[in-house]
């Protein structure tokens, strides 16, 4: 029986002097939903474009089972499905037609892909738009149709680059269920995202990539191990004010816009609340929130960037 484990070993991709990927090594087993997290420009999309054969590594290897994906890009395209970050070229097609046609291009037989298209439409709750031309669909529904196009007849590896962009919260949940189903069906799912909070709930394992390097890898809970017994204090500084001096009980902190995110020990929670209230009283801060640490805190500490969720909270 073929072992369909995906392996990247020492993958380096240089554009002139710039290293978009620098010696990335990782392994994804069949059935795993594997997150690739990192800030914009970290090299996530460059990595997956090499998997699907759109780019060629400068050095290193990419294999899926016995197939060398670098040497055999035809095999790579047959074995891997790819949902790019950009919108799909579906303006002239009706939703169900384009899903079935893409399924046939991917090698599926017409009857099965038609049936699968209808199942995907039902599972993603987009039946209302089944016969609507792509040009008339909203961005979120287009995104869901795009997801169905690449998974109606999925490859052994399914690469999803920011699949939830523009999708409403209810259908996001349905989309995550389908992503989970892909893994349950035996596919290796590569999930490229910078939405850490969503990824934390959905991936089996993840890698954090920053400036082309893989800087951390593991399950969400293993990556948070260092933060056990810690809390996150989020402080909204009054716009224009400097970051307040941190008390000694703060382990580390990052400022994103007017948000200061500090990590503290659970035992210091009362001190932290008192300090935050004092800052509000002095007019230096507007509000604060104390919560359990998330993968987001690990991500911020490692990359120095907040994910899109925190960015969205930062006032302009």
């Amino acid at each position: 029986m073929e072992d369909w484990t995906f392996r990247a070993e020492g993958v380096t991709k240089a554009f002139g002097e710039f290293l978009a990927n620098d010696g990335i090594t990782l392994e994804v087993r069949p059935g795993e939903v594997y997150g690739l997290l990192g800030p914009n420009g970290a090299g996530k999309t460059t990595l997956v474009k090499q998997v699907i054969g759109l780019l060629k590594p400068t050095s290193g290897s990419l294999t899926l089972g016995s197939y060398d994906l670098v040497e055999d890009p035809d095999a790579a395209r047959q074995l891997c499905s790819y949902l790019p970050q950009a919108q799909m070229p579906i303006d002239s097609f009706k939703a169900h037609q384009v899903m079935a046609l893409t399924g046939m291009i991917r090698g599926g037989d017409p009857e099965t892909v038609r049936r699968r298209s209808d199942e995907m439409i039902e599972a993603l709750d987009i039946g209302e738009w089944r016969d609507t031309l792509g040009a008339k669909l909203s961005g979120g529904i287009k995104r869901l149709v795009g997801f169905a196009m690449v998974t109606v007849w999925p490859g052994r590896v399914v690469i999803l680059d920011e699949p939830t962009n523009d999708v409403d919260p209810r259908r996001r949940r349905l989309l995550w269920e389908q992503i989970r189903c892909l893994g349950d069906g035996g596919a290796s799912v590569f999930l490229v995202t910078h939405n850490v909070l969503e990824a934390e709930k959905s991936v089996d394992r993840l890698a954090i990539i920053n400036e082309g390097r893989l800087i951390a890898e593991g399950t969400p809970s293993s990556l948070k191990a260092e933060d056990r017994g810690r809390m996150r204090l989020q402080l909204m500084v009054v716009p224009g004010r400097a970051t307040p001096e941190m008390p000694s009980f703060v382990h580390d902190h990052t400022r994103v816009g007017n948000n200061v995110i500090a990590t503290i020990g659970e035992v210091d929670s009362a001190h932290a609340i008192g300090w935050a209230q004092e800052l509000i009283g002095l007019g230096e801060a507007e509000e604060y929130a104390l919560a359990a640490t998330t993968l987001e805190d690990v991500y911020i500490r490692m990359t120095g960037h907040a994910s899109e969720e925190v960015d969205a909270e930062v006032p302009a």
């Binding site: 073929e2 474009k49 699907i52 054969g53 759109l54 780019l55 060629k56 197939y67 055999d72 890009p73 035809d74 095999a75 395209r77 047959q78 074995l79 891997c80 790819y82 949902l83 790019p84 970050q85 950009a86 919108q87 799909m88 070229p89 303006d91 002239s92 097609f93 037609q97 384009v98 046609l101 893409t102 046939m104 291009i105 991917r106 090698g107 599926g108 099965t112 049936r115 699968r116 199942e119 995907m120 039902e122 599972a123 031309l133 040009a135 795009g146 998974t151 007849w153 999925p154 490859g155 052994r156 269920e177 389908q178 189903c181 892909l182 893994g183 349950d184 069906g185 035996g186 596919a187």
Partner: protein, 263 residues
Amino acid sequence: MTAGQALVTAPITIRSGAGHWLRSYAVMTRWELGSLRMFLPLIVALQVVVGGGFALGIGLFFDQMPTRNALYLSTGAAVVTLITVGLVLGPQLIGNHKTAGTYDFLWSLPVPRTSQAASWVTVNSVIALPGMVAALLIANWRYDLPLRLSLSIVPAVLLTIVSATMIGYAFAHAIRKPMVTQLITTLLIFVILGFAPINFPPENLPGWLADLNLYLPFYHMAVVMRGGLTEGLVTDVGISYLVLGMYTAASVAVAAWVVGRRD
């Protein structure tokens, strides 16, 4: 299987061979024609208007159009409609995919690159042929031309469409920036209409430019097409077939190399 269950059906063996190629060609042709569905009638109508309009419009420059000139103009209009689709419209459509960000998805589809190229030639033919026929019919009605259609029009049209489409396909894929593609296509229209002996005989050009055109494909496209549409208007058709055949083979080879390479 019920809704919500994933189907993992990636091939155990990689598809290859003639059957896979033909199937891929068929579905990609459906894809390309489907992608243009909203605009296809408009594009074809435009080609018909341009082809016929060109043959009529240039005639307005003259009080009396000598038959020989009318033959050059009319057959030239047919050639221009054929080659501008492959060399101008096709590259612009590919450039649009790059601008819109949809290029990566199309390029990640699991079909042989050559079947994608062949479906592109088919779609270009569907767009170009009605314009060519319209140009000839309208010109024949207007100038009462002594056209003599022969079977050699089939290979002439085939070589002209394939070479023009593959040259356009190759540079549109090779050039990263769509804006550069746009500029090149604009330059090509200028060269094709004004400085290639398509709508007029090569004697009308300065000697050096006529000589230069012997090494470019446009003149030879016009010669083989005239060979299939007229009698006695052009000579040395065999040499033009040879040159155009070499251009066609080279353009297919270069296109195959361009689409097969990866950065």
